[in-house]
């Protein structure tokens, strides 16, 4: 190579390297993760990718204080307690004095009426992809999980009999629907002067947690903007037209927001899988240090890694499988091992939608499974004994996780380390397969689909482990591993399309009920997805213990309920947690202001953006 050419190349390389050390995009935080939001309507989402954005656009009545789970005011100027008189001694009436001078992104001023509208819209809408079930359960004193079940109990007729295709079936049904709003829903949430008041049907200990920021689903909406843009008009007559809409039917699904948070939505670019948030300069606590936040969905880890090393992104999602990759990378900070209140589990759909493509032929002919394949306890037993749990912890997540016996994180009330855990035992698995479906599974074979959300390599590998071990027992067994985009994955699990999938749960609030009810109650968010005979089993053996547990003030008695519940769950091979992960945060060292919080969506990847800034 000539001298001149050598010098030129060297200069280019040095310039390239030099460019890496300065803070890039100093006013903009860029995050590369995998998984796009499902919806930006706070009441139509319940996933971490959506929550990440929603909790930046919207604000709640109260929030957690820093890294703790102590609550402090946010839109409310006080946290209701019995001591300050904002919570009645019977635990049923909460009064929230609403802060003055808070502006929405539209320029409208936030008032108690907006808070009332938010809660009523959430209740009446009760979107099946949303988290309103948490608040419905709380406000109803633990009696109901959905507005439909509440209506059915009150009206004596099923909601699906009263309303078909968004229209009441008769004048009588219409009258009942209007009356339901006027007599049941409207009195729950009232405005009294500058205060917003919640009149609970029964006391519910964790209620404040269900609406505490980072709970994106309790974000306060701009009522005036919402009504003008086609959302529920606030009236009793016709509320059913907005009940359980598809997320895309909401005006705040993807093109706009109705929040008051420190950032507003600039654009959700579907093609480039990017969400761009812009600083809201009129934010009541003062403008954020960052001018904008960009969230990019990049599935390929190597690409995310390259972008981080070059400084073109500031934070990336890193699966624990890649722990150690950045140990000696200049300019990159790694924080690991902090607690995460979440569990990742194998789930079974006990009764898959018979129209689902994922059951193949629908028979024991080696090309599919019957739709109720996992109704037989032996099939579940076989799968749960076919998994190498130790390999997952030691090799796959590189020690950044631990096993727990049921879907209840360590440290939560009711957690018992002495409960038995399923062993990796192919002998037991084989016996179970031979017993499954009176031997049909073993003799005729099957083709099972195991699903994960694409980009999540840990879950992908878990599905592949299931495949390897299951297929190793019988050449007639086939397991297809399929990855799906996050929103489609959620939809498929919700609609009971996939027989076996792996999914996690991040605590919505720091109480055992959030996990036990979600996973195991027949109307819980995950519990209801089992279908089939699970419903009867849960009603017979689990529901009562869960309901009693949340209402029981005596901790000893409460512990007894939860212990019995967990033992019954284990006996019935309902599902199993794979691991409780520990956090792994990887970002450029110029990112400042990060603090982990066990209840923050994607809290192991991103900071709370209002408090973040960039500087060396």
């Amino acid at each position: 190579m000539s001298k001149k050419l050598f010098v030129l190349v060297l200069a280019l390389v040095l310039v390239s390297l030099a460019a890496f050390s300065a803070v890039k995009n100093p006013d903009t935080l860029i995050v590369a993760q995998y998984g796009s939001p499902e919806s930006l309507d706070p009441q139509a989402m319940w996933d971490t990718a959506s929550g990440e954005v929603v909790s930046t656009l919207y604000e709640n009545l109260i929030r957690y204080d820093g890294e703790s789970i102590d609550m402090i005011p946010m839109i409310s100027t006080a946290v209701p307690t019995m001591e300050n008189g904002l919570l009645t001694p019977d635990g049923k009436v909460y009064t929230f004095p609403i802060r003055k001078g808070v502006l929405f992104h539209s320029g409208n001023t936030l008032t108690p009426a907006d808070v009332e509208y938010t809660f009523e819209r959430g209740f009446l809408g009760d979107n099946s992809s949303g988290a309103m079930t948490l608040i419905i359960e709380a406000v109803s004193g633990g009696q109901y999980f959905s507005i439909e079940s509440w209506f059915e109990d009150w009206a004596g007729m099923a909601y699906s009999d009263a309303v078909i295709d968004r229209e009441p079936v008769s004048e009588e049904a219409r009258a009942k629907l209007i009356e339901f709003y006027e007599e049941v829903i409207d009195p729950l949430f009232v405005v009294e002067g500058d205060n917003f008041v919640v009149n609970m049907k029964g006391s519910f200990g964790p209620f404040l947690y269900t609406i505490c920021y980072y709970a994106g689903w309790a974000g306060i909406l701009d009522a005036e903007w919402m009504k003008v843009n086609g959302a529920w008009d606030g009236k009793a007559d016709g509320w059913w037209k907005w009940h359980d809409l598809q997320p895309e039917e909401s005006p705040i699904h993807m093109d706009a927001d109705a929040g008051s948070g420190p950032f507003k939505l600039q654009v959700w670019d579907q093609e480039n899988k990017t969400v761009v948030l812009q600083r809201f300069d009129q934010y009541w606590q003062g403008p954020a240090k960052l001018k904008s936040v960009i969230l990019r969905d990049i599935e390929e880890f190597s690409t995310r890694k390259a972008l981080l090393e070059a400084g073109d992104v500031d934070l990336i999602a890193v699966d624990p499988i890649y722990r150690g990759t950045f140990d000696n990378t200049p300019g990159v900070t790694v924080i690991e091992g902090f607690p995460r209140a979440q569990v990742t589990s194998i789930h079974f759909t006990w009764a898959v939608d018979p129209a689902s493509e994922y059951i193949g032929s629908g028979q024991f002919d080696g090309e599919g499974i019957p739709y109720n394949f996992f109704d037989d306890i032996n099939t579940r037993k076989a799968i749960l004994h076919s998994f190498n749990y130790d390999a997952l912890i030691e090799d796959l997540v590189n020690g950044l996780g631990e096993r727990v016996p049921t879907d209840l994180p360590k440290g939560f009330f009711g957690y018992d380390p002495n409960l038995p855990m399923y062993e990796f035992d192919l002998g037991m698995a084989e016996q179970a397969w031979k017993a499954a479906w009176d031997g049909q599974a073993w003799e005729n074979g099957f083709k099972l689909v195991a699903m994960y959300n694409s980009g999540n390599e840990v879950r992908q590998t878990c599905c592949e482990m299931i495949k390897v071990y299951t297929e190793s027992m019988n050449p007639k067994f086939k397991v297809d591993v399929i990855g799906a985009q996050w929103p489609t994955y959620l939809k498929a699990t919700r609609e009971r399309l996939c027989p076996l999938y792996i999914i996690g749960w991040v605590a919505d609030y720091p109480d055992a009920h959030n996990f036990l009810s979600t996973y195991y109650h027949s109307e819980g968010y995950y519990g209801q997805r089992h279908g089939g005979s699970y419903t009867a089993l849960a009603e017979a053996q689990f529901n009562e213990l869960i309901e009693k547990g949340v209402r029981e003030p005596n901790p000893v008695k409460r512990l007894e309920y939860y212990d019995l519940l967990q033992r019954r769950l284990l006996e019935n091979y309902v599902s199993t947690p794979l691991y409780m992960p520990q956090g792994l945060w990887v970002g450029r060292s110029w990112v400042q202001g990060y603090f982990p919080h066990i209840l923050r969506s994607n809290g192991d990847t991103t900071p709370e953006y209002y408090y973040a800034w960039k500087a060396e």
Binding site: A19, E248, Q270, I294, T303, L307, A355, Q485, R494, L497
Partner: protein, 344 residues
């Protein structure tokens, strides 16, 4: 030739109609119980016992084939291909919004793929069994054998991680901010062209920088294919009598190759180029994933994996259209390459 072209253009809609019938039939054979899944939005929709039947009737899935096909075709002609779960918008919009990204990459890739591939193939053929021939063939074998995922990551590692020259993605964030602003005029949705229209040379350079690594990846993988076809064709033509005659007449070897051999060797190359263009327009999933670029490849792959029927149909129709047009262009090019061929 004009009559031939006109005839082919007149047949085009008939061919497309046939394709729509085939594609629709394949989906229709799934049966109403499976197809209703594309319309049902939540388990609550099937809560009552007669819900599935009612919804099947509502969406006309119990109608005879010709009624359903007619209705679907009517919607298609109005640009309604249904809702895409993957794109979270209408299928036509989902495909239409991603097409410019794929088209831009495809168009910029075609030139190096074809020009360099043919050039290398001609050299290899003309210098048969020499060092150049062997070297080019090894180059081709490596390209053909190397998985595009591996090569793409290598390109990313060398040109971005190490050298910092060609970043992944579509544009830098600062350029994207300009594209999203009110001052930007979108005309073609090609960043390279629109940037020039908007007088932003910096964005043109940025867009091009982001294109180079994917182009290198795509090109190398296709060079292997094109140059092997070209080389084989060259060798066949070199054995023809008229080539021996040309040499016997004392013509310089360069003239023999360029005037007599090369053009005649292009017929097979033209044939495969049609299919290659379709594949480029279909987008390459791997390149889009590794380089974090939007496009039709990833969209179609996701639709297939997630059984998003409407998106699958829409993509199949679109690629069928591209293939028919590409084949027409290829057929016309035969006549241009070889005057002996008369298109009738």
């Amino acid at each position: 030739m004009t009559a031939y072209i006109i005839r082919r253009l007149l047949i085009l809609p008939i061919m497309l109609l046939g394709i729509t019938m085939i594609i629709f039939s394949m989906i229709w054979m799934l049966g109403p119980e499976r197809l209703i899944g594309a319309y049902i939005k939540s388990p609550e929709a099937l809560r009552s016992n007669d819900a599935q039947e009612r919804l099947i009737r509502k969406y006309g899935l119990d109608q005879p084939f010709y009624v359903q096909y007619g209705k679907w075709l009517g919607n298609l002609l109005q640009g309604d291909l249904g809702y895409s779960n993957v794109g979270r918008t209408a299928v036509t919009k989902a495909i239409g919004s991603r097409l410019p990204y794929t088209a831009e990459l495809a168009i910029y890739s075609i030139i190096p793929v074809v020009v360099v591939g043919i050039w290398l193939g001609v050299i290899a053929g003309a210098r048969h069994n020499t060092f150049w021939d062997h070297g080019i063939r090894i180059f081709a074998i490596i390209g053909w054998s190397l998985p595009d995922y591996v090569f793409g990551l290598l390109v990313l590692l060398v040109f971005y991680s190490f050298l910092g020259w060609f970043p992944p993605g579509y544009l830098s964030e600062s350029s994207m901010a300009v594209l999203r602003s009110d001052e930007w005029r979108t005309v073609t949705k090609f960043a390279t062209i629109d940037s020039l229209i908007n007088g932003r040379l910096d964005i043109f350079v940025d867009a091009f920088r982001h294109l180079i690594a994917p182009i290198i990846t795509i090109s190398y993988l296709w060079w292997a294919f094109i140059l092997r076809i070209t080389r084989s064709s060259m060798l066949e033509v070199l054995r023809k009598d008229y080539v021996r005659t040309a040499r016997a007449k004392g013509l310089p070897e360069k003239v023999v190759i360029n005037k007599h051999v090369r053009r005649n060797a292009m017929i097979p190359v033209a044939t495969v180029s049609g299919g290659m263009i379709v594949q480029l327009f279909a987008g390459t999933v791997i390149v889009e994933t590794v380089f974090a670029r939007p496009g039709l490849g990833k969209f179609t792959a996701d639709a297939a994996v997630q059984l998003d029927y409407f998106s699958i149909i829409g993509s199949a129709l679109f690629f069928s259209f591209i293939l028919i047009v590409a084949n027409l262009v290829v057929d016309i090019s035969y006549a241009l390459i070889d005057p002996r061929i008369r298109l009738k």
